[in-house]
Structure formats: structure tokens, C-alpha cells
């Protein structure tokens, strides 16, 4: 297990290298001259040229990439052309709210989905199962910004139970932090919950029809034992898989959710960087998001081994 884990961790290095080349190349081929953006609209061609030379934009691709990669390895993601702050610092300031949102959204998604998915599978074809199917389809079809505004109008504006928007850091007021995160996490988690719930139901149904479930019944196991001791562990591989794959869309959802709730996270930073054509920041953010995705899927691969003894690479 340990050897496999190490192998898998080492394998993420070439993946991240490819991501780095891709991120750098993508911006290189993007139309628009960053030197012009940095210099501002009133700059003369000479000034632009000076910036171009100073930033190394006149060098060939591989030289630029080499310099960039070298700095990257020492933890230097460059400097924002807009705020003049180091990109690594900008990201570090903003990563907390986004991590809270992603984890909170994921936990809510799992809590809303897995129990209902199991219950629907155990009661296949009955009223609950049919209602479940309808609700998940409906919920999945509603874009998450609509869900967000709906939740705000009910729980914040209507009932006044929760704040409308904003973010309080946990070290300042932990209670306020939790209250403020409820609606954003719900907004982010609900759409994802539908997907996980459908996969849970389908996966449980598949497992429940297998022979070893009949064996468990023949031993005298009751329904709960069959569902939780025998079926769930077998059914959890597709669930874990969809959580890993869906993480990318969760990141996308976080960008929108942060905008709705005015949360100063990486999503907002991304939008700002794009509107300012702040290339170093965009590069840094894409790298961080990619690294997050790679890490989540590394975790998924390691969880597989814990769940299914047949998986050995």
C-alpha cells in the first residue's frame, strides 16, 4: 500500500509538468500583447518595447518558459501586472475562503446525496424512489446561480436566518464564519448532490442484484446489514470516482458561487485577473486549480485501494 501510494505520488510529477507547459503555452498563443496591457493606454511604442524587453516577452518561447519554470520551482509564480504583488501571495490570501467553500460544498453534497441514494435503491420503484428521481433531475437542471439567489431570497431576505452575502474569516469570528458559509456551501453542493445521488442509487442497485447479497440474506442478515455492511462498500467505488471527476465542475461552481455571495476567494481573483488580463495571476490560478484537481484524483486512487482489495497496480 505504501509503495503504491509513493508510486502514485511520483506519477503526479510528470502530470503537473505537462500541465505547466500547457498553461504557459496557452497564454503564449493568446491574442493580445501583455506588454501593451502593462504599459497602459497612454504609453508610447518605445515604452511598450522597454517593458517587453524588461519582462522578457521578446525572448523565444523556450527561453521564456525556461525562466518561468525555474522561478516556478522555487515557488515564485511571478508578479501581478495589475497590483504589482507576488502572485503566490495573492493566491495564499484568497485560498482559505475557496477551500472552505469547496470542502463545505463537498460535505453538503455527500450528506444530501449518499443517504437518499441508498434509501432510494433500497426502495426501488416505490413512491420515495420515484420522487427521488424527479427531484434529482429537477435539481440538476437548475443552474447553481439560480439556486443561490433562491436560497438567499428565502433564508436571508425572507426568514432573515442567515446573512445575504460576505465572508468573515474563521479566526475573527468562527460562528459568523460558519453562518456565512451555509448558503454558499448549499448553493455549491446541491447541484453536485444530484449527480452523486444518482450514481449512488444506480451503483447500489447494481450491487444489490449480485449473488453475494443473496448469500448474505441466506445467512440471515437483515436489511440494514445488507445495505451497509455488504452493499455500500462495494457500491462506493463509482461514488468516489464521480466525486473525483466532479471536482472540476465544483471548482467552476465555486467561481460563480463566490461572485453571488461576494466571497473573496480564488474564484473572484480569477474573474478579476481575467478582466485585467493579468497573465501571471491567471497562470498561477490555473496551475493551482490543476494541482488541486490532480491531488483530489490522487486521493481518489488511494481510496480505491482501501475500498477494494482487488485493486492492485
Amino acid at each position: 500500500m505504501l509503495r503504491y501510494a509513493l508510486q502514485r505520488i511520483v506519477m503526479t510529477i510528470p502530470v503537473m509538468a505537462v500541465v505547466a507547459v500547457f498553461v504557459f503555452g496557452l497564454l503564449f498563443v493568446t491574442p493580445g500583447d501583455p506588454a501593451v496591457v502593462i504599459a497602459g493606454e497612454q504609453a508610447s511604442p518605445e515604452e511598450v518595447q522597454a517593458i517587453r524587453v524588461a519582462m522578457g516577452f521578446d525572448q523565444p518561447f523556450y527561453v521564456q518558459f525556461g525562466l518561468w519554470a525555474q522561478r516556478l520551482l522555487s515557488g515564485d509564480l511571478g508578479t501581478s501586472v495589475f497590483s504589482r504583488e507576488p502572485v503566490a501571495e495573492l493566491i495564499a490570501q484568497r485560498v482559505g475562503p475557496t477551500l472552505s467553500l469547496l470542502f463545505g460544498g463537498l460535505i453538503i453534497a455527500l450528506l444530501l446525496s449518499v443517504p437518499f441514494g441508498i434509501y432510494a435503491a433500497a426502495n426501488r420503484g416505490k413512491l420515495f424512489d420515484r420522487a427521488f428521481t424527479a427531484v434529482t433531475v429537477l435539481n440538476f437542471s437548475i443552474p447553481n446561480f439560480i439556486v443561490g439567489y433562491l436560497l438567499v431570497s428565502i433564508f436571508a431576505l425572507g426568514l432573515r436566518w442567515l446573512p445575504v452575502q460576505g465572508y468573515v474569516p474563521p479566526d475573527r469570528d468562527f460562528g459568523a464564519y460558519l453562518l456565512g458559509m451555509i448558503l454558499p456551501c448549499l448553493t455549491l453542493g446541491m447541484g453536485f448532490a444530484s449527480l452523486i445521488a444518482r450514481v449512488t442509487r444506480a451503483s447500489m442497485l447494481d450491487v444489490l442484484s449480485q449473488d453475494f447479497i443473496r448469500t448474505a440474506k441466506a445467512k440471515g442478515a437483515d436489511r440494514n446489514r445488507i445495505l451497509f455492511a455488504h452493499a455500500l462498500k462495494n457500491a462506493s467505488i463509482p461514488i468516489v470516482t464521480i466525486v473525483g471527476l466532479g471536482f472540476a465542475s465544483l471548482i467552476g461552481g465555486a467561481v460563480i458561487t463566490e461572485s453571488i455571495f461576494a466571497i473573496p476567494g480564488l474564484g473572484r481573483l480569477t474573474l478579476e485577473a481575467i478582466s485585467h488580463r493579468d497573465y501571471p495571476v491567471i497562470q498561477g490560478l490555473v496551475l493551482v486549480f490543476s494541482a488541486g484537481y490532480v491531488l483530489v484524483n490522487l486521493a481518489v486512487d488511494l481510496i480505491y485501494v482501501l475500498l477494494d482489495p482487488r485493486i492492485r497496480y
Partner: protein, 328 residues
């Protein structure tokens, strides 16, 4: 003493294309310590009978009728909790495919121990020890190590031994074995049959052996029930059935077994097959279900269903011509 008494058991599946009568008016008894083989082709209703007796079918999709008594207690009217207390405890089950019948993500030791813990109060450790003891009894070498392994790490024969250990851990009075050797290699089949015979001596369990393999029947069974299209068509002691089969279907089955020494050069030169296929159970038949495939079928066979007739004290058969000597 009668352990299991099945009377007029019928199992009807409700399908979108109409009712499917999988078991039709089946009656038989199993005495303490006796081995009864239920023999038939695929689709003859033999497995469904066993599942019906243990109430393991999805009863929202099928209807059971008749009577099933285990030591005088009616199982068809028992509630789910009562059935759970019986399953794995008084009645153990072994299934055909030991690969899929074992949970792939739970160690075999725990799967065996679970059967014990479900019915007897004991600690996890006691159950684990008991599981290891059972693994020893079913002839698995190095049981302490094997108990911590998963089904995919064992061979097919060992997996079936694990199934047997699991079924016998609570010393059931009745063991239902549904095609226990079908999925195994021939040499392993012989080992498993040996094991079942020796455990039958040790545990004194009665066995219902469901099979289509007459070789297995000859080695194990005291009594044989032949099923065709959901009905019992013949029943007798194993000796009787093999020596004096009465039903043309039974004769066909026996004729389809290859024998050493029978000349392949002779006038037949090949195995005798039973022509045709098992009838669609959704189509209600008027006469004998076997009539379309029977070479001795007469008009009466197509018009009326033959009832079971006792030809000797230990032999019953459902054929209009059972008492005549030459059929087919």
C-alpha cells in the same frame, strides 16, 4: 422424522408478459439426515423451489402458495424476522458460483464469522476463532492466514469450501446446496463431494441437493426428485430411479449420460439426446408438459395432465403410461 414438509408449493412470477408458473404444485418431504436430490434441466424450477422454501425471492414480484413446514412450523406465513432467524441457522445454503456468491471486499474469515454472529451471541474474537476452526474442518490449509484473505485470492475449490464453512457454522439441520459443484473443475468437484459427504456424517444435516448432474446424484443422494417444467414428474429412492426409471423424461436424462464401455460403434453411435426444449412456462399447457418431446406421447398426453401415481412404495411417477412396461 420429517424435517421439511413441502405441500402443493407453487411459485408464480408476475412478469410484464403474464404470469410465469416456475414451480407448480410441488410436494415432497425431507427426513432428518436424509439427502434428497432435485434434478432437472435449466428452467425446470429446481432452484426457484429452494429459493421459495427459504423465502429468498423478491416477494413483491412473485406469489407463493401451498405449505412449507420446517419441523412443523409453517415458513410461508412466517414473518421476515422469523425467517432471518431460520436462515443460516437452522437451514444453511450453498450456491453455485462461489466467486460471485462471496462478497469481494470482505475477508473470507469475516464472512464466515458473520454467519455465526448473526445467530449466536459471541464476541468478534470468538466468532473469528470459530471461523478459523470451520476453515480447518472444510480442509483449507493454513486457515489462520486464509481467513484474512479476500475471495479473489482463493481458488474456485477453496471458495466453495468457504461457502460450505459459512453454511455449516451454525450446525444447520438442513443444508440446501444449489448446484454446489457445477462451476468447478472435475477433480475439484470430486473433492467437494467427498467433503460434503464427510461433513454430512459429522454434522448430521439433511441435504437438499439441487443439480442437473446425475453423477453427483448417484454419489450423494438417498432419494431423487425429477422436475420438469416446474412439476415433479418422478420421485423415488436413488436405487429405484437409476434401476427402474419410469418417466420417459427420466429415461431420457439417464440415456444422455455418457458411459464408459458403451460402444460408440454400435447402432446408435452417439449419446441419446432429449429432442426439443423446455416449454415456455408462460404458456399454460393442457396436457403433460413433456408430451411435445415425448416419443411415446399419445392423444391422452396432450389432453390431460397426468397425476402422480405410486408404482411401488418408494416410487411415484406422473405419466399416463407409467404402469406400462414399454414407453419410448
Amino acid at each position: 422424522m420429517v424435517l421439511l414438509n413441502v405441500e402443493h408449493l407453487s411459485t408464480i412470477f408476475q412478469t410484464s408478459r403474464g404470469d410465469l408458473r416456475a414451480v407448480n404444485d410441488l410436494s415432497f418431504r425431507v427426513s432428518k439426515g436424509e439427502t434428497v436430490a432435485i434434478v432437472g434441466e435449466s428452467g425446470s424450477g429446481k432452484s426457484v423451489s429452494a429459493m421459495s422454501i427459504m423465502r429468498l425471492l423478491d416477494e413483491s414480484r412473485c406469489r407463493l402458495s401451498g405449505k412449507v413446514e420446517l419441523k412443523g412450523r409453517d415458513l410461508l406465513s412466517a414473518d421476515e424476522a422469523a425467517m432471518r432467524a431460520i436462515r443460516g441457522n437452522q437451514v444453511g445454503l450453498i450456491f453455485q458460483e462461489p466467486m460471485t456468491a462471496l462478497n469481494p471486499v470482505v475477508t473470507v474469515g469475516r464472512q464466515i464469522a458473520e454467519a455465526a454472529r448473526l445467530h449466536e451471541t459471541m464476541t468478534r474474537r470468538q466468532a473469528a476463532e470459530k471461523a478459523i476452526e470451520m476453515l480447518t474442518r472444510v480442509g483449507i490449509p493454513d486457515p489462520r492466514r486464509r481467513a484474512n484473505e479476500y475471495p479473489h485470492q482463493l481458488s474456485g475449490g477453496m471458495r466453495q469450501r468457504v461457502m460450505i464453512a459459512m453454511a455449516l457454522i451454525c450446525r444447520p439441520e438442513l443444508l440446501i446446496a444449489d448446484e454446489p459443484t457445477t462451476a468447478l473443475d472435475v477433480t475439484v468437484q470430486a473433492q467437494i463431494l467427498d467433503l460434503m459427504r464427510s461433513l454430512r456424517e459429522q454434522f448430521g444435516s439433511a441435504i437438499i441437493l439441487i443439480t442437473h448432474d446425475l453423477g453427483v446424484v448417484a454419489e450423494m443422494a438417498d432419494r431423487v426428485i425429477i422436475m420438469y417444467a416446474g412439476r415433479k414428474v418422478e420421485e423415488g429412492t436413488a436405487e429405484e430411479i437409476f434401476a427402474r426409471p419410469r418417466h420417459p423424461y427420466t429415461k431420457g436424462l439417464l440415456g444422455a449420460v455418457p458411459r464408459l464401455g458403451s460402444s460408440l460403434e454400435g447402432k446408435t453411435g452417439r449419446l441419446v439426446e432429449i429432442e426439443g426444449t423446455v416449454p415456455d412456462p408462460r404458456v399454460a399447457t393442457v396436457g403433460c408438459a413433456f408430451a411435445p418431446r415425448c416419443r411415446g406421447a399419445a392423444d391422452i398426453c396432450r389432453l390431460s395432465q397426468p397425476g402422480l401415481v405410486r408404482t411401488r412404495s418408494d416410487h411415484q411417477v406422473a405419466c399416463h403410461f407409467a404402469t406400462e412396461l414399454v414407453v419410448a
